[in-house]
């Protein structure tokens, strides 16, 4: 009981530190992820933890899959409905989940700041493809592991 109260008191304070926020929201991957989410999204890119974007961004993304960042990523209506429900229920609500005009995780100020040391040529490596490909450097991205000590930048 005591420890629970202590944790409750500590969490808001620790939320300022990346680690706690990661477990409360954002980077954390929901316990249940629909198979279709992993299968359909990771056919082309990292299946991003849904907490990385707010509900408004996911709504726009799922409503325009035929014009998906330069490619047509259409899904059938049933899959769109199922994944939209899940994304809305698990969308990010913490400070980093910001709705940028183009609904890109990589457009958020925190993303730019966190990656400012990555050199321009690194983003262009064939093995990486670009900032959208989290797993090129964060091997644990699909599990929500973006910790700095597990970063491996390809050469």
């Amino acid at each position: 009981m005591k420890s629970a109260r202590l944790a409750a008191a500590l969490c808001p304070a620790l939320a300022l530190v990346f680690a706690c926020a990661a477990h409360a929201d954002g980077m954390a991957v929901p316990a249940h992820t629909p198979a279709a989410y992993t299968q359909e999204c990771s056919a082309c890119h990292t299946a991003y933890p849904p907490g990385l974007l707010p509900a408004a961004s996911w709504k726009r993304i799922m409503g325009s899959l035929d014009k998906h960042y330069g490619t047509d990523a259409s899904l059938d209506d049933k899959a769109v409905a199922e994944l939209s429900r899940w994304l809305q229920a698990n969308a990010g609500t913490y400070k980093r989940a910001v709705d940028t005009p183009d609904a890109r995780i990589t457009s958020a100020a925190w993303f730019v700041r966190k990656h400012r040391e990555v050199e321009a040529h690194t983003w262009k490596l064939r093995s990486g493809g670009g900032p959208f490909n989290c797993t090129a450097c964060h091997a644990g991205a699909v599990r929500g592991d973006f910790s700095e000590r597990n970063v491996r930048i390809p050469k």
């Binding site: 093995s127 990486g128 490909n133």
Partner: protein, 132 residues
Amino acid sequence: MRKLLSCVTFALCAAGFASATAAAGPADLQAQYAAEAAIQPSATRGETFFTQKHGKEWSCSTCHGAPPVRDGEHVMTRKRIAPLAPAFNPEALNDRARADKWFKRNCGDVLGRACSPAEKADVLAYLTGQRK
């Protein structure tokens, strides 16, 4: 008697279900598209369609390669794409829903419109014609 009837009904339903959802092989897919288009598929037309651009930036072969008998790479995402020619990839073109999904997406990217059943049948003829 009733039991026997329900058994027979069940067996018939199961058989019907199995045939409806049986993994359609590449040849079945080609036949389905050809029947919808009422044409004789042509591998030559398919090759031209597959390798040429259609008014937009990419052709099918930009990502799949030509002939698509080796791994391809998506021009934007750099994602590895398994060979499309069924002789080089047993997973390729054996499911109608998956084929329809990717035709819809990729025809949107390459042509800016849906592909016709005739175009799909021709492409299938080109792909199934690739031999080891």
